[in-house]
Amino acid sequence: MLLHTPVVVTCVQKTCSCFRHQHRLVVTRDQTCPCSTHTPVTDWCTADVQQRYSGPAVSTDPRPRSMALQTLQTQLSWLYSQYLLVTAVYMLEPWERALFTSVLLSAAAMVGYYVFLPVFLRLALHFFSGVFGGQEESAVTLMS
């Protein structure tokens, strides 16, 4: 519940430390960031919250999510953050990030299409031809 009027701050760093939120932060004096990786703001702050907490903003969430979905979302955002850090894409500007991600995804798609898809199709064909082939033979014998 909001006991005080929300204090709006501008964040220094555009992305949240959990790498989910991209907007300006709306912080109240005794609330935490709704994302579960942040601990309560009052732990480190003195009275002047607005000068200190320059984390990212989260849009106030009207629909409460279920626990399982929340955990899944947390996990995925954590994985995304690890990907950004390990590949050093964290340091790039947004257009560079888009370029890198698109190149990576297209490379992965090409590998999938030219390498894995024929293998998959061949295996599937082998499996299903065995099934259908067997049925036809038995039908023929019954008819004759």
Partner: protein, 590 residues
């Protein structure tokens, strides 16, 4: 000559560390070998050491005979344990292979994007706001094409908001930082107008907590400013020599335990301007691999030959000394005019302490001079705060030139050199810094005097002893907790400089920003101050930190470590939860 097999008395010579009689034995045994080469039974040591078969290995510090694949770099093996009166524990855990591979991959991706951006800037697709040659200079030798400039343009600038943060108060245990924001990806910064108050300071070299604007030191400095003013307007040779400078020099000499001392206005200038006065052409400087830039600059300015030995590695140093004595100067083979060994007390990027007893043993054996730079260790090590010499319990007269700075533990600025009276008299006349540089301002000199008397306990209070004890307790606690959390920490267990490994380039920027979000100011270091994959965050523990402050900092470091996956250490920490209080007590006894 009868054939005489090698008896054990030949090999027993190098069991005695001080024995200098190897020359006699060498000629005798070499003559034996000449005449009776194949008839003699050789011991295993002779087989190993002789290229020509005649030179025996009489080194003080021997290489290990067997090759073992090192799990950790071999720095924590003490070769001569009899020289140390307390355990010397250093550790440099090896980089995990996966982390190294991923770090190189990250740098590779950044390099590709760096080339892309340089290409765009060159073809004017993107507006260029970095340093660039003018059109008239395009055919000259390029200025900005080397790797350092490429790194600065494309990697450093992206995370530049972690450095040069402006403070607007005393950098004590907590500080105030002016908040800055950048709208064009760190090319320019604007103040938001807000100030971040009470940011926990884990980066200042404030080892004994003398960075304060209240208290005895500050009052004395104010009084002296009212008496002398704040500027000196002259060099020591001319009208800039105040009585407060002489009082300070006498105090410094008494503190260090040397005959005489000389002080300078700037610590960097102390090294870079005095080494040229001490060494010149025809001298040999043996300097450690990881020496500070001021020592490297001073050695290069002096014009002497410089040879570098591996970091804190006494075997490497001994080999260089022996080669220098045996072979002499490069072409003429004349003996060197002097041999100067240049080491530091605490190396601030590694957190390691020099193996001073071994260096002194080597220096005495091979008749070299020792220049010890105690920038970080003076005031921070030793039961009385007198530096690394005090820490090992050695005699200050063994170190020929003791240099240090007042910037770190004394809360002032400047440097000093201490040694014999003749040396200091010579430096007063021949050092560039003493002759040409402006002398120290009076309030700074008074700060040094007050803080030094406090540390020595001569002001009547026990403040100095309390601070020294607090510093060593905080150091032990902080290092132990970080190790238990699973981070890779480099360096000696007693050094207040704690480097924590980050490795990956994105984590350098992420760590600095995340810690600032949690209200803690840290220093992160990357290339070129460290090797390219070994970037780190460097914490400086202070006597001004209370246990609660350190706990808050440790909690935040733990969180950020989990968030960024920084807990690389593969050692199992030895934690005894039930005996928690007892293990604390055992660490307090030093």
């Amino acid at each position: 000559m009868t054939s005489r097999p090698h008896t054990s008395e030949d090999t027993s010579v190098f069991q005695l560390p001080g024995a200098f009689c190897y020359r006699l034995n060498m000629t005798e045994s070499s003559s034996n070998k000449l005449l009776n080469g194949d008839a003699c039974q050789r011991s295993s040591k002779d087989k190993k050491s002789g290229k020509n078969g005649f030179v025996k290995n009489h080194c003080l510090f021997q290489q290990p005979q067997k090759y073992r694949r090192p799990r950790e770099k071999n720095h924590n093996v003490v070769r001569n344990p009899s020289l140390y009166n307390k355990p010397f524990v250093e550790s440099y855990e090896e980089t995990p292979l996966l982390v190294a591979v991923l770090t190189y991959m990250g740098y590779g991706i950044l390099t590709i994007f760096g080339y892309l951006r340089d290409f765009m800037r060159h073809w004017n697709i993107e507006k260029c706001s970095v340093a660039r040659e003018r059109d008239e200079q395009k055919d000259f030798v390029p200025l900005y094409q080397d790797f350092e400039n490429f790194y600065t343009r494309n990697l450093y600038t992206r995370i530049r908001d972690n450095w040069n943060r402006p403070l607007c108060g005393v950098p004590g245990s907590k500080m105030d930082i002016v908040e800055q924001v950048s709208h064009d990806y760190n090319r320019t910064f604007q103040n938001t107008g807000k100030i971040m108050r009470d940011v926990i300071n884990m980066g200042s070299y404030n080892y004994l907590g003398f960075a304060e604007n209240v208290g005895q030191c500050a009052d004395a400095a104010i009084q002296v400013t009212e008496q002398y003013g704040s500027g000196v307007c002259g060099t020591r040779c001319e009208m800039g020599n105040l009585d407060i400078h002489q009082e300070m020099e006498e105090l410094v000499a008494r503190f260090l335990g040397v005959e005489s001392a000389l002080t300078f206005g700037m610590g960097f200038a102390t090294n870079s301007m005095n080494i040229p006065a001490l060494a010149g052409k025809g001298c040999l400087i043996l300097s450690d691999e990881l020496n500070h830039a001021s020592l490297v600059l001073g050695a290069r300015l002096s014009g002497s030959t410089i040879r570098v030995f591996k970091h804190n590695n006494m075997v490497s140093l001994e080999k260089l000394l022996r080669d220098a004595i045996v072979h002499g100067q490069p072409r003429t083979h004349r003996p060197w005019k002097k041999l100067l060994i240049v080491v530091e007390g605490i190396y601030s990027m590694e957190g390691s302490i020099v193996r001073l007893p071994e260096v002194i043993a080597l220096k005495k054996r091979y008749k070299a001079f020792l220049y010890l730079d105690e920038a970080h260790s003076i005031g921070a090590l030793g039961p009385n705060g007198k530096g690394v010499v005090d820490y090992f319990g050695l005699d200050p007269k063994d170190v020929d030139i003791m240099m240090g700075t007042f910037t770190k533990s004394f809360g002032a600025a400047g440097g000093y050199i201490g040694g014999k009276r003749e040396l200091i008299q010579y430096l007063r006349a021949h050092s560039h810094s003493a002759v040409y540089a402006t002398s120290m301002p009076p309030p700074v000199a008074q700060q040094i005097i007050t803080s030094m008397t406090t540390i020595m306990g001569e002001d009547g209070t026990s403040l100095g002893a309390d601070r020294l004890r607090l510093l060593s307790e905080n150091t032990t606690y902080f290092r132990r907790k970080l190790r238990e959390m699973g981070f890779i920490i480099y360096g000696n267990d007693d050094s207040p400089v704690v480097p924590m490994m980050l490795y990956m380039p994105a984590k350098i920027g992420a760590f600095g920003r995340e810690m600032l979000k949690r209200n803690i100011g840290t220093v992160v270091v990357g290339f070129p101050a460290t090797p390219i994959i070994e970037s780190r965050a460097r914490f400086c523990v202070s006597a001004a930190h209370t246990r609660e402050t350190l706990d808050v900092a440790l909690k935040a470091i733990g969180e950020v470590g989990d968030l960024l996956q920084l807990k690389y250490s593969r050692h199992q920490p030895t934690v005894t939860p039930g005996l928690g209080w007892m293990s604390e007590e055992s660490y307090l006894q030093d």
